[in-house]
C-alpha cells in the first residue's frame, strides 16, 4: 500500500503525496494507531516497514487532525479526494450543507421479540432522506460541466430503530439521480438468492429467509418495491 520514495513523500492509494498529507490521511482514516498498524504495516511486514511503523507511532498524537476545512485548503484535487474519503460521509454531509433531494417515510407492519424471544406484532416506521453535494462545491476548479456533474455525491440518511443513532451511507450517482430515498436505501441491500420470503436487519447485518423457490444467483441490489415488501423486522 505504501512505499517510501524520498524522505518527504509517500505513496498512498497509488498516489504520491507529501509526508504531511499521508500522515493526516492515515490518522483520519484509522481510528487509532493500532488500527493503522494492522491495516497498513502488519506484523509480517519487512523490518524497514516496522521501523516506519514505529516512527509513525511516536508521532501519532501530534499529527494534525484532518478537517473538511483543511481538505478544501488542499489545491491538488486528487489529494483532496483522498482527504474527503478519509473524513467520511457523516462529517462531509453534516458540514457542507447538502441539498435534500427526497424524504420518505416507510410505515408497515413488522415484528419484534419480547424478553422470552416470542414474536410481537409491531408497526415499523422509518424515515429516509436522500441528499446530494454538488461536484462544483467539492471541486470548483474542475473545468468541464461533465467532470463537475460526475463529482456530485449522494448519500442516504437514516436512523437506527433501536438507538436512534443517525447513519449516512453513500450511494452511487446513478442511484442518487433517481431522486428517491427508498431506492437509495434499497440499493444498500445486496442479495444472492432469488425469491426471498422476507428480510430482517440488525444494524448492518441482513438476513434473508429463503422461500421454497429460492435459488442461488448473481448478487443484485434491491429496488425500492422489493425493500418495502421484504423488510419484516429491524433493530
Amino acid at each position: 500500500m505504501i512505499a517510501t520514495e524520498t524522505i518527504k513523500h509517500y505513496y498512498v492509494e497509488n498516489m504520491k503525496v507529501s509526508e504531511e498529507a499521508a500522515k493526516m490521511y492515515w490518522k483520519r482514516l484509522h481510528k487509532d494507531y493500532d488500527n493503522f498498524y494492522n491495516a497498513v504495516i502488519g506484523e509480517s511486514a519487512h523490518p524497514e516497514m516496522q521501523m516506519f511503523g514505529n516512527l509513525i507511532k511516536q508521532e501519532w498524537d501530534s499529527i494534525p487532525h484532518l478537517t473538511v476545512q483543511k481538505a478544501f485548503e488542499e489545491k491538488n484535487i486528487e489529494v483532496r479526494r483522498l482527504y474527503f474519503r478519509a473524513i467520511g460521509v457523516a462529517e462531509m454531509f453534516q458540514e457542507l450543507e447538502p441539498t435534500l433531494i427526497d424524504k420518505q417515510v416507510l410505515e408497515k407492519e413488522g415484528i419484534t421479540w419480547d424478553a422470552e424471544n416470542n414474536p410481537v406484532a409491531t408497526k415499523m416506521r422509518d424515515e429516509y432522506e436522500l441528499y446530494e453535494i454538488q461536484g462544483a462545491k467539492l471541486f470548483p476548479e474542475e473545468k468541464t460541466s461533465w467532470r463537475t456533474a460526475n463529482a456530485t455525491v449522494f448519500a442516504v440518511r437514516c436512523w437506527c430503530s433501536t438507538t436512534g443513532r443517525e447513519y449516512w451511507i453513500y450511494v452511487p450517482r446513478n442511484i442518487g439521480e433517481r431522486k428517491d430515498a427508498l431506492e437509495a436505501i434499497a440499493w444498500t441491500v445486496q442479495l444472492d438468492i432469488t425469491n426471498p420470503e422476507y428480510i430482517y436487519r440488525q444494524g448492518d447485518v441482513i438476513l434473508a429467509k429463503h422461500s421454497a423457490s429460492s435459488q442461488s444467483c448473481r448478487p443484485y441490489h434491491l429496488e425500492a418495491k422489493d425493500y418495502v415488501k421484504l423488510l419484516k423486522a429491524e433493530s
Binding site: 421479540w113 455525491v153 453513500y170 440488525q202 438476513l207
Partner: protein, 89 residues
C-alpha cells in the same frame, strides 16, 4: 460449541456473524445446534431448526424461526474511488 464439517457445512450452538474485528458483535446462539456455511467474510448461509436468537450490544434481538437464511451486510459506495464495500458497524 459443536462443529461437524460436512460438505462445507458445520453445526454449532454459537456463531459470530461478523468478522472478528468488529467491537459490537452480532452473536447467533441457541440451546440446539444450527447449521452454517461460511461463503465469504460477510456471507454465511444458515439452516435453523429451532428458534435461534441473534443478539448485539446495541441493537435489539432478532429471532430466526425454522428455515434457511442467507446472511450478508449492508453495502456502501465510495464516491472518491468508485468502489462498493460492505458496512461493518
Amino acid at each position: 460449541m459443536i462443529d461437524n464439517h460436512t460438505n462445507g457445512w458445520s453445526s454449532t450452538t454459537k456463531l459470530q456473524l461478523t468478522p472478528g474485528g468488529e467491537p459490537q458483535k452480532h452473536i447467533m446462539s441457541s440451546d440446539k445446534p444450527f447449521g452454517y456455511k461460511q461463503k465469504t467474510d460477510q456471507s454465511i448461509d444458515l439452516i435453523v431448526k429451532n428458534p435461534t436468537a441473534i443478539t448485539h450490544d446495541e441493537h435489539g434481538t432478532i429471532v430466526l424461526e425454522s428455515g434457511t437464511y442467507s446472511k450478508t451486510n449492508q453495502m456502501e459506495f465510495d464516491p472518491f474511488n468508485n468502489t462498493v464495500s460492505y458496512i461493518f458497524d
